[in-house]
Symmetry: C2
Subunit: 395 residues, 2 copies
């Protein structure tokens, strides 16, 4: 049985180079980075090296980078932290976000709404794109934060961050701009000034680094408060003994992302993904692609196969050795239809018949060829079971 992994948006394997960079910090270099002695100082120095790499990648200052335990934590810190700080000057802060955010953004917004904040959730086009016009209309006097995902995790749709950033910069009152860039980091430019963002979330395990580490970029001068209190680590914004090996891993992963080799990987990934886009409709009838094809991450494709239930597809493919997903891994155990797909206007049933396929740098052409054939068989079988009649003549 093949073991073909096509769920890189859920998790990536650690790049062996990254793991090699981490290993000393899992072995001899075990010092606590807050300790004054040499063991501690070497750990601290490794963390600061990683911070420099991340800062260089984001084109920001190292002291604007804060390491966290996950991207979910970074998203929450951005959103809850900005609102906490805003509450001293605004009684009822207003947040604008989009309908296709990750749960790590939507859920803290919903929590804050219950706490008395105002929240506007922007709709998206049928291609999955937020419109600047909608955003402009949503801005209020009490708006303190806009949080829009850079590239969506389910459909790969790339949002017009630079446009939004440019508009928000002209605002009379300060409106902070946060983006969850977790899925974008490996593929898109993350220059925080070009994007015009004040806060940006990254994650290591989506870019061939370890799980359990993320980072939040916070532009200097941003009014933000911590969620966690303690020993003052990360300049007081995220206390807790630093995960040295994890942070070193995040730094090493970013270094690989920024390397010329990664550009070559990404071109190849796009070609393989485009092969899927070309081949699948040829051998499977009645399919739809969800999300914009132009403004889309090169490693993502999301199909709807009417008559074939997504979870059943996933399980059948898994039994044949293929790892794909119906949507975000973080909500894979939910029975609800994907909030992203329903935001595109898909009926619930259609949303339930969808599959996310995400490629990565270890994906090869042979895997794609084998996968397409297996997928076609599985869809056909499931459609037989469900009694689905293809609308076209099919293959």
């Amino acid at each position: 049985m093949p073991k073909i992994y096509l769920d890189y948006a859920a998790a990536t394997p650690i790049d062996p180079k990254v793991l090699k960079t981490m290993m000393p910090y899992l072995k001899k270099e075990f010092g606590n980075a807050s300790s004054i002695h040499a063991f501690g100082q070497r750990a601290l120095s490794a963390i600061e090296d990683a911070r420099n790499i991340v800062a260089n990648f984001l084109r920001c200052q190292p002291e604007e980078v804060y390491f966290t335990g996950s991207a979910t934590e970074a998203d929450n810190l951005a959103i809850q932290g900005i609102v906490k700080a805003a509450k001293s000057r605004i009684a009822k802060p207003h947040i604008i976000t989009s309908a296709i955010e990750h749960h790590a953004v939507l859920e803290p917004c919903q929590y804050l709404k219950k706490q008395g904040c105002e929240v506007t959730v922007l709709p998206v086009s049928k291609d999955g794109l937020v419109s600047l016009a909608d955003l402009k209309k949503a801005v209020q006097e009490n708006t303190v934060l806009v949080s829009v995902i850079y590239a969506n995790n389910e459909i790969g749709a790339i949002q017009p961050l630079a446009e939004i950033g440019k508009f928000l910069k002209q605002s009379k009152t300060k409106i902070y701009f946060h983006t969850d860039a977790v899925q974008a980091v490996n593929y898109l430019d993350c220059n925080v000034d070009s994007l015009g963002v004040d806060l940006l979330t990254i994650s290591a395990h989506k870019i061939y680094g370890p799980k359990g580490v993320g980072a939040l970029y916070v532009r200097k001068g941003t009014a933000i408060e911590p969620m966690v209190y303690g020993g003052g680590h990360e300049r007081g914004l995220r206390p807790g003994t630093e995960n040295v090996a994890g942070i070193v891993g995040l730094g090493a992963a970013i270094k690989e992302v920024a390397s010329p080799k990664n550009k070559i990987h990404n071109i190849r990934i796009r070609q393989l993904r485009d092969k899927l886009i070309k081949k699948i409709p040829k051998i499977i009838s009645d399919i739809a692609i969800n999300g914009s094809l132009e403004k889309r991450l090169p490693n993502n494709i999301n199909f709807t196969f009417p008559g074939a239930e997504g979870e059943a597809l996933l399980v059948a493919l898994d039994q044949k050795g293929f790892a794909v997903s119906t949507g975000s891994a973080c909500s894979s155990h939910s029975l609800e239809a994907s909030h992203v797909l329903t935001a595109l206007g898909l009926p619930e049933e259609t949303a339930h018949s969808s599959l996310r396929i995400t490629l990565g740098k270890y994906t090869n052409e042979k895997e794609i060829d084998i996968f397409v054939l297996a997928l076609a068989k599985v869809v056909e079988r499931l459609r037989e079971i469900s009694g689905y009649k293809t609308k076209t003549n099919g293959k």
Copy 2:
């Protein structure tokens, strides 16, 4: 130059056995534990195995164990989470804690005080022990939480948790009992029922596991709310993609702690520590030991060397290849005297002349012998520089 590490309370090296258990999850087993496919299911299964090990150690149910990104996060989750839930029924919740808590407990309490909670900080005896009588007097109608450290990180003082737990159980209104057991786990019984605690914090990197992972025990039925919102991981109490390798490492570390071999290590550690207690006063005059000698972790000793400033001691020893500490690593960059030592009644200057020495399972007798001689020389030189006159005739 020797490299002698005597700062095990700040961080421990990862046990090679633990690292070996973690390695597959840093290599081939890279699945996201929320993914439904086999990659994800194997990751999930590894997490649940670790949860079972921790639960078995704490004598609780697996579903009462929640993994976090650090012990600081677990402490904050316990304290902030209990207060958040309490606020729906009590306008001004009251927390009782002690003067010798870790910053990860004291700081969230101070934050909540600013937010309108009442906080009582219990004093300690000159031996560093909280008294049940003081606690009894402190309880109010609106008391919702007591948080007392199991064994202090600077002086190793073991607090009377079982007594406190027993008393709190008799309370008319529910008062939750939390303990930061980070330093205790390797040495003391952590049966949550014997201790009578409702919440208990552990950390991996203090018990020969990796940094970046902790856990919070939460007794079933406890009214607690999350700090972070997102994809519903850890039954909604701590969302964020699970740090699979880290969690596996925490499980493996607990397995070693619970092994019969660890008891033998701990006996040897106590003997070596007792050698320090016996030898140091013989060759260095005018010293004092901080904290109870009876109710003390077997790996901890904390001396005051009047006339020798702690930071200078630490740096001089570091230059000779010895890693020790003046107090908590988490506040090592602070210029303030240790809040733990001043809580014992030590004047600031005396507190500043103190040194924490913490041993571990890789400490050997030769290291102790070399260290004692080096320490004596360094203290002597610093006392010469400061013009300190010994009160006794010295050696």
